[in-house]
């Protein structure tokens, strides 16, 4: 609700304002999620990805990349995680998600829901690769992949549906149909 009102208040002709608004939305969701109870310890909903998805469909690949990058940098700074192992996992996951979602979006043959799920899966896979090759250097971590794929599908559906309804409202509010 809050993010919808925030987006509506932004001037439609200001790309920078939209971008900044989406970064703030991503940060708020990132912080909000930190306080949400987790059904299982390793399951994160990845709600901040909603801002990245909206940026991708509303403003394009470059904006999605910037929203994700700024959100990770600023979020890590304020949570005291900048340049810690957790930061590099977030960065690996975030950038992988943007790359995969951007590529799928430009192909135009995948629905928003599939793009969202693929983004969540890429996020988890990116984090896993960063953990294996940068942090722990141990292939045993590949055994986490099934759990990460399962959670990726669940979180991808959740963020995809939120983004879908948000983008429909944006289309109505800004006359971009």
């Amino acid at each position: 609700m809050e993010q919808k009102n925030l987006l509506r208040q932004l001037p439609a002709d200001r790309e920078e304002a939209r971008l900044a608004g989406l970064v703030v939305v991503g940060l708020l969701l990132f912080i909000f999620e930190a306080y949400l109870p987790r059904p299982v310890p390793w399951l994160k909903f990845g709600l901040a990805n909603i801002a990245t998805l909206v940026a991708l469909y509303w403003m394009g690949w470059r904006a999605a990349f910037l929203v994700s990058l700024y959100r990770i940098l600023i979020g890590s700074f304020f949570t005291g995680n900048l340049f810690t192992p957790g930061f590099f996992l977030s960065l690996g996951g975030g950038m992988s998600a943007v790359l995969v979602m951007g590529a799928m979006y430009h192909l135009r043959i995948f629905s928003l829901l599939s793009v969202s799920i693929a983004g969540a899966l890429a996020h988890n896979l990116g984090q896993l690769l960063a953990a294996i090759y940068l942090l722990f250097k141990n292939a045993i971590l590949w055994y986490l992949l099934p759990y990460l794929l399962l959670t990726g599908i669940i979180t991808g559906v959740i963020t995809g549906l939120f983004s879908y309804y948000l983008l429909r409202r944006i289309g109505e509010d800004f006359g971009e149909k």
Partner: protein
């Protein structure tokens, strides 16, 4: 934003789900080929094996590389982290591990505790220190 951009189903979705199912099936076949491991767990800190814990012995261990030390409890074929001063304590919430391939990960402290898996032949264990 054109309406069809936000369609909830497109033809490429079939390809996407087929690719996903194929990947899951392929991965399952790899996992299924894993043989049982020994009744021990390895504790790696920052990529180096520091401890080798016998899961049959009922004991508590302190990883004194950290202050305060991280506490690990083993016994009955299970192992769990029971005390860690990190913020989120995900490693404690992950509970106990007991099967080959299972692991407990603490990202902030770069702790990886796992039960090794052997694919046919047994792998040699790295040098143990500490």
């Amino acid at each position: 934003m054109k309406k069809n951009v936000l369609a909830l189903f497109k033809i490429g979705d079939i390809l996407f789900w087929l690719a996903l199912l194929s990947a899951a099936w392929f991965y399952r076949s790899i996992i299924a080929s894993s043989a049982a491991g020994d009744n021990l767990a390895l504790v790696e800190i920052a990529g180096e094996v520091k401890y080798r814990i016998d899961l049959k012995l009922n004991r508590q261990y302190e990883l004194d590389e950290f202050h305060p030390p991280v506490q690990v409890a083993a016994g009955g074929g299970h192992l769990a982290i029971i005390r860690n001063d990190c913020v989120q304590k995900i490693c404690i919430k992950m509970g106990a591990i007991s099967r080959p391939g299972q692991m407990i990960v603490c990202v902030p402290k770069k702790i990886l505790i796992y039960i090794p898996v052997h694919h046919g032949t047994k792998k040699s264990v790295k040098a143990i220190t500490g």
